[in-house]
């Protein structure tokens, strides 16, 4: 060994298979102490599996784990904690109706009585808050905290357990840009104090911004480890996908026509009685893409559900000038499709596809009542199959086998099946939610091109995405949603991530003073209002 300092984490030849799928193949990696090490890769590349092995959730089939220069067995998460490893999951593991303090000590209590533990935790939390900008009100219930604050509680939990190594799995997926910036400042402070951080992400921008070293994974293998300063997003993308990738969407300026979809004062109350849409008004013109930006959970999903015909609402929606029903008969998905609205839903696995159905059965899902697909009382399966084969070839679905069940396709190919089905109906309006969530970079390129192609054919497209990059590269106009309202509309050329980020956090007007403070204030305001509406 040439390096005098032992790596904080060293994995040697880790392999793990799930059935016939080799999730990790002979992976070796060294993470030096006091650095931020990024692990980047497409969905299904094996990043999460690798970290789960490190945290004791899975047992590796082969290979060794060395922590701080010592060979360490990690059979379960207790052992991982004992070895000084802390993990912040993508989906937080917090008890919603416990306070911050109670969550922090949960599982790490000093004895049967909670008093002493709580007192000790309170002191430590105060110290940690000062040291790392990790301030959270210790007596607040989790359910009243914003997502960014909840994430801080997760980090605090790990630090309270004396973690020196912190693993964060896709930490910015649920954060506004401002919250993400704050998180990165926290990570910076932690690094300065000598903590080691492993950051798992699929966002190239974050890797370039914060990491010291980056490892790229592809199909279960570690394809490269490079110094961040010595690489570029283009090179990383190429390493992830295995070929050159177009990171920008090629498109000409839009030539919008008349308003095809006109929404006025749309309101929707969910089954818990919470108002999710609070008077949405917008219009989408022929030949343009209106992008809806916003942090997940601010009513975008409900907007798509209402327009797609499976949630009731009040207000007016006009399609090509004709008003459509928003509740009762004539407001279901079938009626929407009949008036020219196609919908690629946000979640293809629970909405857009029947995973157990074959690809060909899925290519008519939602349009299966079309008389074209009937012959007498039976369905004309031969025709459906034939058309499916054709669609799959044209949309480059791999493998192009219509007999395969939908669940056997990768995320990107599943999305192509949905896209083929909806676009091939030649709709006037396409609603499309999270078009590239869980889709590999190669397919993202294709999907973006298809969306732009549809726009250029003069169709109206309503795009909902939590990926700001996607919103920027596709949209002709951007509307920002926050807390069931449209906060404002911007043109992509005349705005930037910072301005949109503020709108996404509910801040309008001139953000004088500290924008971060303003964001936090408005988030707490929102949390308080939500808490009130629950009572």
């Amino acid at each position: 060994m040439t390096d005098p300092i032992a790596p904080a984490i060293e994995l040697k030849g880790i392999s793990k298979a799930f059935g016939p799928v080799q999730a990790n193949k002979d992976i070796s990696i060294r993470v030096m102490p006091g650095t931020i090490h990024g692990i980047i890769g497409e969905n299904g590349a094996g990043k999460s599996t690798l970290m789960s092995i490190l945290y004791g959730f899975y047992k590796a089939d082969a290979g060794e784990v060395w922590i701080n220069g010592r060979k360490t067995e990690i059979p379960d998460s207790q052992a991982a904690i004992a070895a000084g490893i802390g993990m912040v999951f993508q989906h937080f593991k917090l008890v919603q109706n416990f306070t911050v303090l109670e969550n922090v000590i949960l599982g790490a209590e000093d004895g049967p009585m909670l008093g002493t533990s709580l007192a000790r935790a309170r002191g430590e939390l105060r110290a940690l808050a000062e040291e790392y900008e990790l301030s959270v009100d210790p007596d607040q219930l989790i359910e009243n905290l914003s997502v960014g604050h909840q994430q801080r509680v997760e980090i605090l939990k790990a630090l309270y357990r004396k973690a020196d190594i912190l693993i964060l799995d896709e930490p910015t997926g649920v954060l506004t840009p401002a919250e993400a910036d704050h998180l990165f400042r926290i990570l910076d402070n932690l690094r300065a104090e000598g903590k080691t951080i492993v950051l798992i992400t699929h966002k190239l921008r974050e890797i370039m911004e914060i990491t010291d070293t980056v490892s790229v994974m592809r199909r279960g293998e570690m394809t490269a480890t490079v110094k961040t300063a010595e690489t570029s997003p283009e090179q990383l993308a190429e390493l992830m996908v295995g070929r050159k990738v177009l990171l920008r969407v090629d498109k000409v300026p839009a030539r919008p026509g008349d308003a095809v979809l006109r929404v006025e004062n749309l309101r929707h109350v969910d089954s818990h009685g919470v108002e999710r849409l609070k008077g949405i008004s917008l219009e989408v013109r022929a030949g343009e893409i209106l992008g809806i930006a916003g942090v997940a959970g601010n009513g975008q999903s409900e907007l798509l559900e209402v327009l797609g015909g499976y949630a009731d609402a009040t207000g007016t929606v006009r399609v090509n000038g004709k008003e459509i029903a928003l509740s009762g008969p004539g407001s279901d998905g079938g009626a929407r499709r009949a008036c020219g609205i196609a919908h690629v839903p946000e979640d293809r696995q629970t909405e857009g596809l029947i995973m157990a159905y074959t690809a060909w059965e899925n290519t008519v899902f939602g349009y299966h009542r079309d008389p074209r697909y009937q012959s007498g009382v039976l369905m004309n399966n031969a025709l459906i199959r034939e058309e499916a084969q054709d669609k799959m070839t044209r949309y480059d679905v791999r493998p192009p086998n219509p007999q395969l069940a939908a669940r056997n396709f990768s995320g990107g190919n599943q999305q192509k099946i949905v896209l083929a089905r909806e676009i091939e109906r030649d709709p006037d309006i396409l609603l499309i939610g999270q078009p590239t969530r869980g889709v590999d970079i190669g397919a993202i390129e294709f999907i973006h091109q298809e969306i732009v192609r549809l726009r250029d054919k003069g169709k109206a497209i309503l795009l909902v995405s939590v990926e700001l990059d996607e919103i920027f590269s596709l949209s002709d106009r951007i509307a920002v949603m926050f807390d069931g309202r449209i906060m404002g509309e911007r043109l992509p050329d005349e705005t930037d991530q910072t301005e949109l980020g503020l709108l996404m956090a509910g801040v309008t007007g001139d953000p004088s003073g500290d924008p971060i403070k303003a964001v936090e204030a408005s988030l707490e305001d929102k949390a308080a209002r939500e808490a009130a509406s629950h009572d």
Binding site: P20, R369, Q374
Partner: protein
């Protein structure tokens, strides 16, 4: 990637389950001092080696096909209809009413009308739980099982107080008119020098059951309704996205399910007893659950599973008749088969999946 080839899932898993149940049953028979081999011999002899044995086996099979299909339709819509028993009882009431009060010129017309009546009565009995599930969210398992008790009580009341002929002692209707008599297998197939199916109850409704299997296949895999039922069963959220109404599918699937259960009564009430008696269903509604599970909700599987249970019923009766094996033990054997093929399905499936994966990895 699928874990096992389809043939292993459809054939190997139930076969191993039956084998395990058979081994355990053999041990039980051994424990009470009888020979399992002799017992098996007797069952096969009694149920399958004589045409009259077949006549009984197929009679039971007919019941189990109808109730198996009943459960399977609901399964496809991801509902657990435990109410086949009650729906069949009420279906029997429908059969009895038309047979008793409509003067039919010929059995074929009587069969057509009685089929409609049985299906409508069974379906209506399923409609109430279906409505409660669709509109009020009352769990269908709870409501259908409760409706079995209500059906039994209703039938009891009607038989004792309304339909019992004057002076008769047992709670049953009068015997149906001769014109409603359905041809038995004996009448259909026996010749003077070849007395087939003598004295056995199998009758023309067996063919109706086979027809129902075919119809079931077309309904589920070839029609838009079947497409929607299966889609709803796999994912309610996806169904909503596609404009499929959960309320409609819940109710329609349960109506079909109840109708099929009701049609079982044609066999017992019109074909065999020729009058409506208490407990005409003899638990066939519950056997239907095992049949549907074992048959993977596919009509071919259901037919084969119904045949197996028909064999067990008839073979069991033979055992009780000719050996010291008590009647209760027959129930134990049947229960073991249900346990292994239905409830313990995963116990066989999971090791089998592992074996297939291991061999595939070695080869691949």
């Amino acid at each position: 990637m699928d874990k096992m080839p389809a043939w292993a899932d459809a054939v190997l898993v139930p076969l191993i389950s039956i084998l395990l149940a058979a081994i355990l049953s053999a041990l039980v028979i051994l424990a009470i001092g009888e020979s399992p081999l002799d017992a098996l011999n007797l069952m096969v002899e009694g149920a399958l080696m004589r045409s009259s044995g077949w006549g009984y086996t197929l009679y039971y099979t007919t019941n189990f096909i109808f109730t198996g299909l009943c459960v399977a339709v609901a399964f496809h819509a991801k509902m657990f209809n435990i109410g086949g028993e009650g729906q069949a009882m009420i279906g029997g009431l429908g059969v009895a009413l038309v047979c008793l009060f409509i003067p039919f010129p010929h059995w074929s017309i009587a069969l057509l009308v009685a089929t409609a009546a049985a299906a409508v009565f069974g379906a209506l009995w399923a409609l109430i739980p279906a409505y409660l599930q669709a509109k009020r969210g009352s769990h269908i398992v709870i409501t259908t099982i409760m409706f079995n008790f209500i059906a039994a009580a209703v039938l009891n009341y009607v038989l004792v107080n309304v339909l019992r002929p004057q002076g008769a002692m047992d709670p049953a209707t009068a015997t149906f008119p001769a014109a409603t008599h359905l041809p038995t297998f004996q009448e259909m197939f026996a010749t003077a020098d070849n007395p087939l199916f003598r004295g056995s109850p199998a009758n023309v409704t067996f063919f109706l059951a086979v027809l129902a299997c075919v119809g079931f296949w077309y309904l589920i895999w070839r029609t838009k309704l079947g497409y929607e039922i299966r889609a709803f069963g796999h994912s309610e959220s996806a169904a909503k996205y596609a404009g499929i109404s959960p309320v409609r599918i819940t109710i329609v699937a349960m109506l079909i399910s109840g109708g099929l259960a009701g049609m079982m009564a044609l066999n017992t009430t019109m074909g065999e007893a020729e009058r409506l008696v208490m407990n005409a269903t003899e638990g066939a509604g519950f056997i239907g659950i095992a049949v549907a599970l074992m048959g993977r909700s596919h009509p071919v599987g259901i037919f084969l599973a119904a045949l197996l249970f028909g064999f067990l019923y008839q073979g069991g009766a033979e055992l009780a008749l000719w050996t010291n094996i008590p009647r209760e033990l027959i129930t134990v054997i049947q229960a073991l088969v249900i346990l292994f093929t239905g409830a313990l399905d995963n116990m066989v499936r999971m090791p089998l999946e592992r074996i297939f994966l291991a061999t595939r990895r070695r080869n691949g």
